[in-house]
């Protein structure tokens, strides 16, 4: 079976236990205004151009006969600076797991494993499950928004050794405002995760003025209770990739509010 991914990152230090190789699934049901992987949102492949360095020589605009270029009305092979690319690649689970198996020795020596991230891996559940089953023998983790039907959520996490799930905003109205969806499904899946017996951590991305407010963090701490929590500081380069996929980044604030980590029973700042 095939799925669509947009990147494989070879050495992630913050995507689970040990050193991880992270597979980024393309497509996400959320539209978080702070998303730092805008090329992971659409389910379809899309043109990605490093416009900042473009000298507008026009070579990529000239018609070409390459099959792989047809959907984009651009030549992907013409840029003398290598700036024109495509985000998204259809892959067979078999091919992908073979590719990932090359990292087996490395990951074993580093106490790490494979992490599925995105986009949202739960948006391609059959692909995710088949891939995870092919990857038995690896330590397998996921980074997820938790936004999926509960049946789907259960089916995927059964195949995992570790789950990193976001709770971004406690208030369903604010959740809808900033991510495009409310958090009912997410909070329901959180309960499923908690009672699943699978090791997990809840992650809160700290977005200035949106998720890092004391009201939100207090509310999340009540939901989380003794669950392990990781708070992720805001990355000032979060908006870097927006121009490449012809989008605008709208978060203006760049500095996090002071966060009182002690309100969490089991919190850790990353």
């Amino acid at each position: 079976m095939t799925g669509i991914i947009f990147d494989i990152k070879e050495m992630s230090l913050h995507d689970g236990p040990g050193t991880r190789v992270t597979v980024f699934f393309k497509g996400c049901p959320l539209r978080c205004v702070w998303c730092h992987n805008p090329e992971g949102l659409k389910k379809e492949t899309e043109l990605m151009v490093k416009v900042a360095q473009c000298e507008h020589c026009g070579r990529c605009m000239k018609p070409c006969a390459h099959l792989e270029c047809m959907p984009f009305e651009r030549c992907l092979l013409a840029c003398p600076k290598g700036l024109v690319g495509v985000a998204g690649k259809l892959v067979e689970t078999k091919t992908l797991s073979q590719q990932l198996r090359k990292y087996k020795d490395f990951l074993n020596m580093n106490g790490g494993g494979i992490t599925l991230s995105g986009g949202e891996p739960l948006m391609q559940p059959e692909f995710a499950v088949e891939l995870l089953q092919n990857l038995r023998g690896f330590h397998r983790a996921i980074q997820t928004s938790g936004y999926a039907e509960s049946e789907v959520f259960k089916k995927v996490i059964e195949n995992l050794d570790y789950v990193m799930m976001d709770i971004k905003l406690a208030d369903p109205v604010l959740h809808k405002k900033y991510t495009g969806v409310d958090n009912v499904k997410i909070l329901k899946n959180y309960q499923i995760l908690k009672s699943s017996g699978i090791p997990y951590v809840i992650r809160i991305p700290l977005i200035p003025g949106i998720t890092d407010t004391s009201e939100n963090l207090k509310a999340i701490s009540k939901i989380a209770q003794d669950s392990p929590i990781e708070l992720l500081r805001y990355n000032t380069f979060a908006g870097a990739k927006y121009p490449m996929v012809n989008k605008k980044y709208t978060v203006k604030e760049t500095k996090n509010n002071e966060v009182d980590i002690t309100i969490f029973q089991n919190g850790k700042m990353l």
Binding site: E10, L77, P80
Partner: protein, 656 residues
Amino acid sequence: MSKQLLRYILEKEHHSFRKEITENWAAEYCTKGLSPEQRMADRFERLTNMETPHILPDENIVFMRTIKNIPDIFTPEEWEQIKEKRFIHELGYMSNLSPNYEDTIAMGLLEKRKTADEYGRHAIDNIIALADRYKEEAEKQGRQDVANVLERVPRYSARNFREALQFFRILHYSLWLEGNYHNTVGRFDQYMYPYYKEDIEKGVYTKESALELLEDFFLSFNKDSDLYVGVQQGDNGQSMVLGGCNEDGAEVFNELSELCLIASRNLKLIDPKINLRVSKNTPIQVFELGSELTKAGLGFPQYSNDDVVIDGLVKLGYDRMDARNYVVAACWEFIIPKCGGDVANIGALSFPKIVDTVLHRSLTEVQSFEDFMEKVKQEINAECDRITGKIKDLWFVPSPFLSILMNEIKYNNFGIHGTGISTAADSLAAIKQYVYDEKTVSPAELTEAVDSDFAEHSELLPLLRYHALKMGAGGDIADDISVQLLDWFADSLMGRKNCRGGIYRPGTGSAMYYLWHADEIGASPDGRRKGEPFGANFSPSLFAKVNGPVSVIQSFTKQHFERVINGGPLTLEFHSSMFSDEDSVKKVALFVKTYIRMGGHQLQLNAVNAETLKDAQKRPENYPQLVVRIWGWSAYFVELDKEYQDHVLARQEYSL
């Protein structure tokens, strides 16, 4: 360390004591008809006499250069005459050796004097006289502690850690003053450990106070280092080697090794240059200490793998006991301390030039890739003939004092660098794929594209540059070709005798040839434009879209390093954010250990931040202490020529 002393040195206040020699000593020596030995002895005497003792505020380890320049002993005309008859390496003076500090510190110079020749005795007397003048100055300044140390050393053996450090400083200073260069430090943590241990056991120092003294000592390497200019400022060869195994093969990383890593991290200065010997059996804690230092952004430590290096040296004919004592020369060339007289950087073979030659000579005629590679093999042989054929009758200016510090020389081998390996392997992989396998590019088209720097067939540039197989990008074909190239390089040098009765050692280093050799050819079939440099040492091409650090170490650990063990590291740049927390530093340590377990020979791991470097190019005044790694040494970024700065910026940087 003393903050006051550090500031004093950083702000170069001690430079005000310096004077310049303007007289032409060489002409005088020439007129008098003095022998080289006489000239060296006379120059050393004059210099030691002219030196003015200065003791800086809070300084515990004294001796500082006050003479800026060391006049040559030969006139340019004399040099020309010498070069007509003899092969002269670099400047002609001795360099890149690892002297026997250990025995001298344990014996004292007076004891050494007994077995020295006339010139050696003379040099020793000069050093002792200068030390006496330092002692007087110390007394005058009320620094009885300094005077007491100089009362003992360098005349007699050191009795404690401080005397040993001061003794080392005097020896090292004297080597530079004699006109030798790239004077390495060797296995400092081993030969100094007995002094350290005894003082700790006696309660003279705690670990903390010993660290303070060690930091003062480390500072002493930075007092005069601006006078030791190599190809660039910072290229001075003050390399220190820590850890590794002893002659019996047992791991000997000790508390002093640890303190050296910490001292370097605390000082954040470019000297001494820290190298760490490790093996698959080295405890992870040692790698973690190493990663803590990497985090400081100095490009230290450079790692070498005992498992690979020692076996490689033994296969080249070194005694196992000697091989187990290996150190590095100025950058990363593996040499044997005390008894090694190797010239580890006597020549360099450019792999891309080989490919370029065969491309122009044979691409249009040769029918298969195998036949093309056969031509490459022949050309490697021919180039090795040319390189080794030129090195006849090697001669160095005799160095009476350095000779005293060396044991009987057992090894006289010559090292040849192998440069631009990824440029060559990627080029050959492209030729294989497009010209021979797929036949989508004709030999004529490829040649025209390369010759016109891709002005013609410009569509080939992005194809070759960004879409072709590369080392570090999961391109097994390119990796396999690199293995083949290095094997042929080794085959070709094997069995050749050099003019001193030694052998030739092939290596994976480039030194400054990543710029120099790149200028010798035009564009290359891997999509490298004319004028663009190669990767430094043993590294991916600068523009290769590599998959990440894991693919890179997979590509760069396949080669048969025991056959090409002259030295030359894989260089990786990690973004400084990868060292953000303790947990990440530990993960980086495990990554390094994995590289070692995979059989890598040498690793240069740097923590960099391209944004900071770019800003430093624009506003150099804000970054006087910003350090970067060049090809085998660390330097202050703002003191480098732009082409070296740009190369650092062009390297692939891996982030979180």
